[in-house]
Structures are given as structure tokens and as C-alpha cells.
């Protein structure tokens, strides 16, 4: 994929302010290519669903 750099995982455990610390993975796609790359992630389906109902049964 264009713009993909070496896969990195920082190993640092980070949390903005709270009690939970998590391992943060770094982006693999260069900044200039990200908009197109995110848009390429969409999935075509033949139907739409109410997502909130679909996962939470409301």
C-alpha cells in the first residue's frame, strides 16, 4: 500500500489522564495518504441497518 511505513508498536503504556494504561500502536500509513486510505476501508453492503438497534437491540 502506498504510504505504508514500517510497522511500529511503541511498547509504551500510555493513558491521557486516567488510571488505565494501554500500549499505543503507531500509524503505519504516512500522513499525506491517510484520508484516501481511511476511505478505502469502507465495505459495500446490499442493505443498511440501524446500527444502534443492531448491536443493542433497541
Amino acid at each position: 500500500m502506498a504510504g505504508v511505513t514500517a510497522s511500529k508498536e511503541t511498547g509504551e503504556r500510555s493513558s491521557p489522564a486516567g488510571a488505565l494504561k494501554l500500549r499505543v500502536h503507531k500509524p503505519k500509513v504516512a500522513k499525506v495518504d491517510r484520508a484516501a486510505s481511511v476511505r478505502a476501508s469502507k465495505v459495500r453492503t446490499k442493505a443498511s441497518v440501524d446500527v444502534v438497534k443492531a448491536v443493542r437491540g433497541r
Partner: protein, 198 residues
């Protein structure tokens, strides 16, 4: 006073697609509803959600989410597959039909790698369900369903101030604790929950 009167109180609920441009945020927690709407073409809020997801990637926002999100994405794939095969009216009774299961499996198989593809554009971190269980009872006592409570608890436990969602039910989280970032069309519903839950 301006001609339009006083602007409405935000109740700590903001739009990710306001007229003035999307908010730039250092870190956000993502809810399943937003990710599914962003990834699945044909969803009513697909364009707005995918646009904001791209915006977050370009601005280098760190995204946090709970493992539950990935399980719920599979559930969405399953529901879509049943509706494609049998229509909305028969969806419930055909839940275990083999034809729907095969279709669901194929759709889930496509959705999962595409979610991983989207993640490659972000600094990201995943919390586990067991990381947040101690926060759940208090949130559920406010009226949140268990699934919603897991995502809200992830934001609270991490200290991330913003949760991106297309589910207005997150308005039940205490106002000072969390800013809800949602679609413009859901602001009123989400703020109504906030007013009720003070």
C-alpha cells in the same frame, strides 16, 4: 441579543460535522455505532462518519476503543446479512438460518480486515473488557445498557474526555465526565438525555 436568540446549551454534546468545521481532538474513544456507520456504505450517516474518521486520521488524533467494539462489528455484519437475505420483517425469526449465517460470515470476514486497514492510519490503543468492569455498575445505574456502559467506562478509565458515537443513549453519562461527539442530526436527542440525567 442576537436575532436568533440565545444559542442552545451544549450540555457537553458537540457535533463532529458542524457548519464551522469538525473539532480537532488529541484523543477520542470510538463507539461501535460510529465505526459501523463509517465503514458500511449505505448507512444513513455513512458519509458524515467516514468523513470525520478521515479527519481524525489526518489530524493525528489517537483513537482508543474497547475490544467489545470488534465483537459488536461482527454482530452488525450478522444483522445486515439477515436483512439482505430475508428482509427486515423476517429478520428475527431467521436468526439461526444457515444461509444467513454463511452470508454473515462472509461480511464479517470483510469488515474485520477493513477495520484493521482503517486502524493503520491512527495511533491507537485497545482496552479489554476486564479493564473497565469496575466502572460498569455506576454507569448502568444511570440507565446505560451494558454494551454502552463498556464504551463509556473505557473513556472514563482512560481519562479521554471525548467519546465519538451515533448512539444518543450516551447522553446518560454524567455531563462533566464526558463530552459526546456525535452527528449533527443527533444533537437534540443526545442533549435531551443529558438534561434528564443530571
Amino acid at each position: 441579543m442576537s436575532p436568533g436568540g440565545r444559542p442552545p446549551l451544549t450540555h457537553n454534546v458537540v457535533a463532529f460535522n458542524p457548519a464551522g468545521g469538525a473539532p480537532v481532538l488529541a484523543g477520542v474513544v470510538l463507539d461501535t455505532s460510529f465505526v459501523a456507520d463509517a465503514l458500511l456504505v449505505g448507512q444513513p450517516r455513512h458519509a458524515a462518519c467516514l468523513g470525520f474518521l478521515s479527519f481524525l486520521a489526518v489530524w493525528g488524533t489517537t483513537v482508543y476503543f474497547n475490544r467489545l467494539l470488534e465483537l459488536e462489528l461482527a454482530e452488525v455484519a450478522y444483522k445486515v446479512a439477515i436483512k439482505v437475505r430475508f428482509g427486515t420483517r423476517r429478520a428475527r425469526q431467521m436468526r439461526t438460518d444457515g444461509r444467513a449465517l454463511r452470508r454473515a460470515s462472509r461480511l464479517a470476514d470483510r469488515l474485520a480486515p477493513n477495520w484493521e486497514g482503517a486502524l493503520a492510519n491512527f495511533s491507537w490503543a485497545r482496552a479489554e473488557i476486564e479493564d473497565v468492569v469496575d466502572e460498569l455498575p455506576a454507569l448502568m445505574r444511570r440507565g446505560l445498557a451494558s454494551y454502552d456502559a463498556v464504551h463509556a467506562a473505557t473513556a472514563l478509565k482512560l481519562g479521554v474526555g471525548h467519546l465519538v458515537t451515533t448512539d444518543s443513549g450516551f447522553g446518560l453519562v454524567r455531563q462533566p465526565d464526558l463530552t459526546i461527539v456525535t452527528d449533527q442530526s443527533l444533537l437534540v436527542a443526545c442533549r435531551r438525555h443529558r438534561k434528564r440525567s443530571i
